[in-house]
């Protein structure tokens, strides 16, 4: 039913010696009636096999847009990629013809969406939807793909998979649905899994399980995981490397342990301090004052300056150096990165 001209089957060949994912200078602009919104501004990202990269940031910081750009599912227009390269194993995905690009989706790079209920088609059973992948990419028959679907549901530990393969998405609980999304993402053994706020729509009790499952699937498959989140707790548990985004830019980048222990950008410091803690009961929860800038009108100088307790005149006038290198692979886009690392912001 899915043969003829439409689909070449099988994974696209890649050079395993090249870096898994190398994003350089990525910029995405949304053209709107009100003007151009710079959603992603010269972002660099790197991901190695077996690594977990967390992209951290508030709503509108450009983290989801970056992920969609990597995935190749931005709606263009209104979005437009104005600069940059996204290299997967040395091949630039952005210059690739759409037909070839499609073969990478699902097979090489897969995505777990935030809200599994809306990311699953309500008119098909979950078995049909997991099976769809095997039909599209592997040319399996309906019957074989159903078997595969049950296998995948078992793998993400959905109880009674064989009995539930014919159920519809709305018959599952939120956590189970997210497991199905994960099953779909890992079904074709991708090299990169992008999880876009995978736990945001879930109950707190289920969040940890889903993160554990994602981490486990990453270990099992040896793929790289890009975790997009604003939940610091989630990041602390699973991430190897953290990129903090603010107003479309990467403001800090480094190994998770170091960034947590010693943030180098005042914005990261603010994020850490706004996290509830078990000690210090009775204190008011810290909140970063002000709001992120409108992407239509990002202030000159440092975009965080208006909210920054450490800001000086230079911050309001000159944009910070895009990457002040601290020790090793740590970078921060702040005029005072070194001082922030050693003395904090107060």
């Amino acid at each position: 039913m899915f043969s003829k001209k439409t689909e070449e089957l099988g994974k696209p060949e890649v050079d395993e010696n090249q870096p898994l994912l190398r994003v350089r200078d990525l910029s995405v602009v949304f053209r709107t009636r009100e003007g151009s919104a710079q959603a992603v501004n010269k972002v660099d990202l790197d991901l190695a096999r077996g690594q977990t990269l967390a992209i951290l940031g508030e709503s509108g910081s450009g983290k989801s847009v970056s992920a969609k750009a990597i995935m190749g599912i931005l709606d263009m227009p209104p979005a437009e990629i104005t600069s940059g390269t996204i290299e997967f194993r040395g091949k630039d995905l952005l210059t690739m013809p759409e037909k070839e690009r499609r073969l990478y989706r699902g097979q090489r790079i897969a995505m777990v969406f935030q809200d599994a209920l809306s990311a699953l088609n309500p008119v098909y059973t979950v078995g049909e939807q997991i099976g769809e992948l095997f039909q599209v990419h592997r040319g399996l028959s309906r019957k074989d793909s159903k078997k595969k679907a049950i296998e995948m549901m078992d793998r993400v530990r959905i109880p009674g998979a064989a009995a539930r393969v014919g159920d519809y998405p709305h018959q599952f609980s939120g956590g189970m649905r997210q497991r199905i999304m994960i099953a779909m993402a890992i079904a074709l053994d991708p090299d990169i899994i992008i999880a876009d706020e995978p736990t945001t729509a879930l109950d707190v009790t289920v969040q940890a399980q889903i993160m554990e499952l994602l981490a486990e699937m990453r270990r099992e498959t040896g793929s790289g995981l890009i975790l997009i989140t604003h939940d610091l707790g989630v990041v602390a548990e699973t991430a190897d490397v953290i990129s903090v985004m603010y107003a479309g830019r990467t403001v800090e980048h480094g190994p998770a342990v170091d960034v947590f222990a010693n943030p180098a950008h005042p914005y990261t410091v603010g994020l850490m301090e706004s996290m509830p803690r078990l000690t210090g009961a009775g204190d008011r929860l810290y909140a970063i004052p002000g709001l992120p800038p409108s992407l239509l009108n990002i202030p000159a100088g440092c975009p965080f300056a208006p909210r920054c307790p450490r800001a000086e005149d230079i911050c309001r006038q000159d944009p910070p150096p895009p990457a002040v290198q601290l020790d090793g692979i740590r970078y921060a886009a702040c005029h005072f990165a070194e001082e922030v690392v050693s003395h904090g912001i107060h």
Binding site: F2, T6, E7, M71, I73, R102, L103, R105, G106, Q107, A110, M111, F113, Q114, S118, A119, L120, N121, P122, V123, Y124, T125, E132, L133, V136, H137, P159, G160, A163, R164, G166, D167, Q171, F172, S173, G175, M176, M181, D203, V204, T205, V206, A208, Q209, E212, L232, G233, A236, E237, F260, A261, N262, V269, M272, E273, M275, P276, R277, L278, T279
Partner: protein
């Protein structure tokens, strides 16, 4: 800042209620959109009533002889305009034909014109709507403007122009019927196109379409597997409702004398023939008009209950 304490907080959540082993399989039968709609429809007397009426009219259209034993073309001037009686339940018309037989035989033309126009309007309208909605951009702008132009033409006026400019092929009832169906559908597809387009645009923005794209599906796969099944409900509804409207349009055109032409037997023609005598012998107009109204009503009522049943907000 040292090791964040929330990490410790997270550890305690492990093994909390809701782990896979403790989750319960939800009981109950599979509920799909169609299944849900069926549950709603099953208990609705409007649904069954309109369905029974439509079934009767369909049988009538297929085998009118089952209902009427008199020959509708057996007309004798001596019994013209006779009132209903035991031998002729609906009386006789101007030509002295049996009104009951002509009403039964008239269903065929109405049903065929209705279904044919609906089919053509649906194929053209849904096709254009899906195409415009899915591809957007220039394609959408162009197709939407074409749709607007067609919507701007009043259906009745447009059909009168079309019908009066194409000569009726003599000697073929079917070509006569097809011509009227064509005239109706050429001007009525835009409403289906608009509904289909907006449904597709709504579905296109769903996460599951993005998810399907993220999993490497092609555009034609997305349209067939994700867009059309999810956008079908409103198109089905407008199609059912407009079928009734098209039957009414056929009767209107035939009444005006430019739709179906004798010797085709149709309710519209019968109403036209009877109109001058409405004050003296209303039965000639009453019966075909009654059947026409019932048919239109049945389709519109069916479309209405189906719309209600398919509307996710009422589930």
């Amino acid at each position: 800042m040292s090791e964040p304490d929330s990490v410790a907080a997270l550890e305690t959540i492990e093994g909390a209620p809701g782990t896979p082993t403790s989750s319960v399989t939800e009981a109950g039968k599979s509920r799909t959109l169609a299944g849900d709609a069926w549950e709603t429809l099953r208990g609705s007397w409007v649904f069954w009533g309109s369905l029974v009426l439509i079934a009767i009219f369909l049988v009538m259209a297929a085998w009118p002889g089952l209902f009427a034993h008199a020959d509708p073309r057996d007309c004798q001037a001596m019994r013209a305009r006779q009132e209903p009686s035991g031998s002729a339940w609906f009386g006789y018309d101007v030509q002295g034909c049996d009104v009951y037989a002509r009403t039964m035989y008239g269903a065929r033309a109405s049903i065929i014109v209705g279904s044919l126009s609906t089919l053509m309007a649906m194929i053209v309208g849904a096709g254009i709507g899906v195409y415009a909605g899915f591809y957007g951009g220039w394609v959408d702008i162009l197709l939407s403007r074409v749709t607007d132009i067609f919507i701007g033409i009043p259906i009745l006026l447009g059909s009168i122009i079309i019908l009066s400019s194409i000569p009726t092929p003599p000697g073929s009832d079917f070509l006569n019927i097809a011509k009227v169906a064509l005239a109706i559908s050429v001007l009525s597809w835009p409403s289906t196109a608009r509904v289909a387009r907006s449904a597709v645009i709504q579905v296109k923005q769903s996460d599951f379409v993005a998810a399907s794209r993220a999993l490497g599906a092609s555009q034609s796969w997305m349209i067939r597997k994700h867009i059309i099944p999810n956008a079908a409900a409103p198109v089905i509804v407008i199609t059912t409702i407009s079928l009734g409207g098209y039957i009414g349009a056929e009767a209107t055109l035939s009444f005006l004398g430019i739709g179906l032409q004798p010797p085709v037997i149709s309710w519209g023609i019968a109403i036209n023939d009877a109109a001058p005598y409405i004050r003296s012998t209303p039965h000639m107009l009453l019966f075909p008009a009654l059947f026409l109204s019932l048919t239109v009503l049945a389709f519109i009522a069916l479309g209405d209950v189906v719309r209600e049943a398919l509307d996710p907000k009422t589930m």
